[in-house]
């Protein structure tokens, strides 16, 4: 009974797997060629993930998992900055307005309304501060 070419090749491949790297088994040349191929395949080098790949990924998923934390930290920073600005502004206004007020009231004049208006505008700006999540947090 003759076997097809494919059947013969398949038999060689299967025999090579069964025999493995056992050097005590001689086998026919076709089988041996496949054993050689399989041994070579195990030696082919493949690229590996770079150092730190896993740690970087963990960091990325932690950042993704807590956008609220990132947002609140950012807003906290903005609020602190605004408060400091207000304090400086208030100090400047008082430093300017108080002696002037004393001077003006001593001479019968009114309060410096422009200074008071500037303070009101600053307070309005803080009240209308954008409370939406920042673009960075929204994008990531």
């Amino acid at each position: 009974m003759t076997h097809s070419r494919e059947e013969i090749e398949l038999a060689w491949q299967q025999a090579a797997e069964q025999q493995g790297a056992d050097s005590t088994i001689n086998g026919d040349p076709g089988t041996r060629s496949y054993r050689r191929l399989y041994a070579a395949l195990r030696q082919v080098e493949l690229p590996e993930a770079p150092e730190g790949f896993a740690i970087d990924l963990e960091r990325a998923v932690r950042l993704r998992a807590s956008p609220d934390k990132a947002e609140s930290m950012e807003q906290w920073g903005v609020r602190v900055g605004l408060v400091l600005l207000l304090v400086l502004l208030a100090a400047s206004i008082l430093a300017y307005a108080l002696p002037l007020w004393q001077l003006l009231t001593a001479q019968g004049h009114h309060l410096p309304w422009h200074a008071l208006l500037a303070s009101a505008v600053a307070l309005l700006a803080v009240a209308c501060h954008d409370r939406r999540p920042s673009r960075f947090v929204r994008r990531h």
């Binding site: 040349p29 076709g30 496949y34 395949l41 082919v44 993930a49 790949f53 896993a54």
Partner: protein
């Protein structure tokens, strides 16, 4: 509780370092699979990151109906296959023998023994084999790598690729035959 279940529980509980451990455990399989599919180092890195980010997103839905590595492999295969589709690159080649349609006298080849010591392979052979492997269609080189390098069984490869076991065996058969045929000329063996 198995290792897989413990690790998954730790990741879902946001335990520090748990996800990094999961990645380290499975990055080799993912990297090999993706690299063999897309054959580009930069794309491999980007796609491997995408694979693990998806794993993290879907981990809560994993029901342990397969090994964790198999499930991750499925995601990796799916991501890589989608990348090839986007780039309009074929997964399989219709011309499976790459144009080497030589008429072979099978018994003449048997007489030309190329491997006197079957368990020994020179660096030259390995280098030629690497080139021949890279020239295979994406699916075949991936299957050869998963089977012979990562030493996965046919059933597991079938689950990862969603291909029937018979199809996988057929691809492996053809790929091995092609590699063996291509390796022979490199050794200077007369046909």
């Amino acid at each position: 509780m198995t290792d897989d279940r413990q690790l998954v529980s730790a990741v879902l509980a946001c335990e520090h370092g748990a996800f990094a451990r999961l990645v380290e455990r499975h990055q080799k399989l993912v990297w090999h699979l993706v690299f063999r599919m897309v054959a580009d180092a930069e794309d491999t890195r980007e796609l491997s990151q995408e694979v693990f980010l998806r794993v993290h997103q879907r981990l809560a839905q994993f029901r342990f109906d397969a090994a964790l590595g198999t499930w991750i492999g499925q995601i990796a295969f799916s991501v890589a296959a989608r990348h090839l589709r986007r780039k309009r690159l074929p997964l399989v080649s219709h011309d499976e023998f790459g144009g080497d349609q030589e008429s072979v006298n099978l018994f003449a080849r048997i007489a030309d023994d190329t491997d006197l010591e079957a368990e020994f392979c020179s660096a030259e052979e390995v280098k030629h084999l690497g080139q021949a492997l890279a020239a295979l269609p994406a699916l075949q080189r991936t299957l050869v790598t998963l089977y012979h390098v990562d030493e996965l069984g046919i059933p597991e490869i079938a689950r990862i690729t969603s291909l029937p076991q018979g199809t996988i065996k057929s691809h492996l058969f053809r790929a091995r035959k092609l590699l063996r045929d291509r390796l022979s000329p490199a050794l200077g063996v007369r046909p």
